[in-house]
């Protein structure tokens, strides 16, 4: 635990804060501290000295210095934050932002934003990550500029790669003269945001309250313009805690926030894309993070139906309804036009690699010569270099650097203008073909799900079917990444229709995202009365399980169903692969990857954090009743966890 909780250091720090240095020398408190130090050096059982006894029994002397203010700078900072409309601020408490913390609670009445008590900064950020994908707007988080940000950094990278806004405020003491102890020195930094600058969109370290207001509003605006990514503002601790200066009282103001309209595609390029799509005999649409909002999903359905073109949903967002006859169809090998909407690493979609798990593997295009490739990708507007989440360079015929959702209305209209009666007839025949294929795919999925139906450990297909049976008539929201950890079963069996039915995954595949992101997203779902469901990987929960307590403490209704396969299973498969390749020790892959001996009792873990729980469930026939009971708890507004011993995938 890098964050210092040293009680000795804390006493010294409080001592320094209590009065001034002069008062300290003469005060009983100072004497007491000296006596305590002497006692530590001497016998533990020695009697108190006369001086110490007097200090403890005498009335307190008049205070030399009374340090109060009616207007700390943090109140103004809170006003700035309030002006941006945050519902929540998530934080593990830290002294470098204690002023702002106190202002939110007392000056701001702990409303808009309301403080969420987190047990780890990674949880704070991942909660904000999940929340934003449901709510469409950011949550604020606070952290130390040093140790807190170090904890938070992986989660920030996940949000960055997932193009999700997170508003990060860091505490820091920039001026050396204001640092009172080794704690504060260790918690201070020259350039706090440097650590995460490679995977944030904007940062600033304001030197006045007016500067804070301007940069805070600017950061929000930049963050919310696609591609949306986290931003960082440093709240200097002295600015927070000292009274607002006369100059700031006269001049500091909160600038007006005007969000930029999302960048839409150039009209000429959009017309060219429409021409290609309408002329195509075998087009395929690939959707990555195309639907930022429910409107994006509707637009994509409209475009697909207009063209009767299949949509392959990579499920980084809920882009397209899974029961739609155009869902999932199409063959990239035969397609004559492929359009990728907000697909990171599009190259990977159009190439095959053999064998999959060999670095520097041979690859070849799976697209036939002459196929036209179109991308609409906001990532082209804001790529960074150091962290390589950008994927291989994709050779395409038309690249539109724009937000896909914002471009779809113009693209739909451009297509409509070009569609003749003949084309419409051809589209209809194409659509009928895909509708038949979709029925066959569903039937195959159901048949595959029937294998090992009664087995223990329970198959992921059985868990998915049992869960679907309980939630199908609810307004449900699946908040965890089930592709591929759960063999995609929910997306193969369930009827995904609405944008909030699914939120995609990690972004950068940083494990530890799952549990806190689900809690944050469930918080966003709470006011809409939705049933939030999380299929929780066991390895993921062990990163920061304290988020279960956060869910209980803040009464966040969330059903978590453990995918307890007792391993970091992806890595287990990799080690098996390496061993087989080296022709040795294929029976030792569990060393360093297994989560057994002892088995982890997640039901007891959840109970310890105040969460209703049941399990471990090994008999598939016990699962349905357990889920039903847990959902009753969730419907009453509380979290619940069911531990299920599952097949590996």
């Amino acid at each position: 635990m890098p964050k210092s909780k040293n009680p000795v250091g804390r006493r010294g720090f409080l001592k320094g804060a209590a009065a001034g240095a002069a008062a300290l020398v003469a005060s009983p408190a100072g004497l007491k501290a000296q006596e305590a130090q002497a006692q530590t050096k001497g016998a533990a059982t020695s009697l108190p000295s006369a001086r110490l006894a007097a200090a403890e029994t005498a009335p307190p002397p008049p205070r030399v210095d009374v340090y109060t203010t009616d207007r700390p700078g943090s109140d103004f900072m809170a006003d700035v934050i309030k002006s941006l409309g945050f519902e929540y601020v998530a934080a593990n408490p830290g002294s470098s932002f204690r002023g702002l913390h106190e202002s939110f609670v007392n000056y701001g009445n702990n409303k808009s934003p309301e403080l969420l008590t987190c047990c780890h900064e990674e949880s704070s950020v991942a909660m904000a990550h999940g929340y934003a994908k449901i709510e469409g707007k950011p949550m604020m988080i606070m952290a130390h500029g040093t140790v807190g940000l170090q904890h938070a950094s992986m989660a920030i990278y996940n949000a960055f790669a997932d193009r999700v806004p997170v508003y990060i405020v860091l505490g820091n003491i920039a001026d050396v003269a204001w640092r009172r102890s080794d704690v504060e020195w260790a918690h201070s930094v020259q350039d706090a945001a440097a650590m995460v600058r490679d995977y944030t969109k904007f940062d600033d370290a304001p030197v006045s309250l007016g500067h804070f207001a301007e940069s805070a509003v600017r950061a929000y605006k930049i963050m919310m313009t696609p591609p949306m990514e986290p931003v960082v503002i440093v709240a200097d601790a002295v600015l927070q805690e000292e009274p607002m200066s006369e100059a700031d009282r006269r001049s500091a103001r909160i600038p007006k926030l005007t969000l930029s309209s999302p960048p839409a595609g150039d009209s000429g390029a959009v017309a060219e894309a429409a021409r290609m799509l309408v002329a195509a005999e075998d087009p395929v649409i690939i959707a990555g993070r195309a639907a930022r909002t429910p409107a994006g999903l509707k637009l994509l359905v409209e475009l697909a139906e207009l063209l009767q073109a299949p949509v392959q949903d990579r499920r980084f967002r809920m882009n397209f309804p899974s029961s739609h006859p155009l869902y999932g169809g199409g063959n990239l090998a035969t397609a004559d036009v492929i359009m990728a909407l907000e697909v990171p690493d599009f190259w990977n979609s159009t190439h095959t690699q053999t064998p999959v798990n060999r670095m520097g593997m041979e690859s070849r295009s799976i697209v036939k010569p002459g196929t036209k490739l179109i991308t609409i990708y906001s990532g082209d507007l804001a790529e960074k270099s150091n962290y390589q989440d950008l994927g291989r360079y994709a050779e395409v015929d038309l690249a539109i650097a724009a937000d896909a959702e914002a471009t779809l209305p113009a693209l739909i209209e451009a297509c409509k203008r070009l569609i003749t009666a003949d084309r419409k007839r051809a589209f209809g025949e194409r659509g009928a073909k895909y509708a038949e294929a979709a029925k066959r795919t569903k039937a195959q999925a159901l048949e595959q799900a029937s294998y090992a139906w009664d087995s223990s450990p329970i198959t992921t297909a059985r868990v998915s079917a049992e869960l679907w049976n309980q939630i199908r008539n609810e307004d449900w929201s699946l908040l965890s990444d089930v592709n591929p950890f759960f063999s995609n079963w929910p997306t193969r069996l369930w009827d995904f229709e609405k944008h909030h039915n699914y939120i995609g995954g990690h972004g950068a595949y940083g494990v530890g995202y799952g549990a806190p992101a689900a809690v944050g997203a469930a918080l966003a779902n709470r006011k809409y009365g939705r049933l939030s469901v999380n299929i929780q990987c066991d390895g993921d929960l062990n990163y920061a399980p304290g988020v279960l307590w956060t869910a209980a403490h803040h009464h966040i209704p969330l059903l978590s169903v453990m995918h307890n396969n007792r391993a970091y299973h992806q890595e287990l498969m990799y080690i098996e692969d390496m061993a087989a390749r080296a022709q040795r020790g294929v029976d030792t892959a569990k060393v360093g990857t297994g989560l057994f001996d002892p088995n982890i009792d997640y039901a007891t873990l959840a109970k310890a954090y105040g969460v209703y729980s049941a399990g471990p469930i090994e008999n598939p026939n016990d699962l349905g009743p357990a889920l039903k009971k847990a959902i009753e708890v969730v419907k009453k507004g509380e979290p619940a966890l069911i531990d299920v011993i599952t097949q590996p995938r």
């Binding site: 999959v356 498969m573 029976d587 097949q647 590996p648 995938r649």
Partner: protein, 111 residues
């Protein structure tokens, strides 16, 4: 007589070496990580094809394990003997065929 016994033994050896032990096959299936991609019952997952009931014969399975296609690593006879693959095959053959979807209410209700 001695010659006859040796001859008999020689004839019997291949049969012994390919005798299948499903119980041992189950043990090896788990010990050597087959379940990791194919599931404990060989039902198949997103990471590995369905193996049970087997569609290949035992020799076909041995050939595939030695020279697999796609993502599966090759398991040479240094780490997995022909006999062990045979035993795995026997284990997979013990897996019951699934009930028809129409007889599983939870699946039958999914459209």
């Amino acid at each position: 007589m001695k010659k006859l016994s040796l001859l008999t033994l020689a004839v019997m050896l291949p049969a012994f070496s390919f005798a299948q032990n499903a119980e041992n096959g189950k043990r090896v299936f788990v010990r050597d990580g087959c379940y990791e991609c194919h599931g404990y019952n060989g039902q198949g997952t997103i990471a590995g094809a369905r193996l049970a009931p087997p569609v290949l014969d035992a020799q076909g399975m041995i050939r595939y394990v030695r020279r697999p296609a796609g993502a599966m690593p090759a398991f040479t006879n240094k780490v997995l003997s022909d006999q062990e693959v045979n035993d795995i095959y026997a284990y997979l053959k013990t897996m019951p065929a699934p009930k028809p979807v129409k007889d599983i209410p939870l699946l039958n209700q999914i459209k």
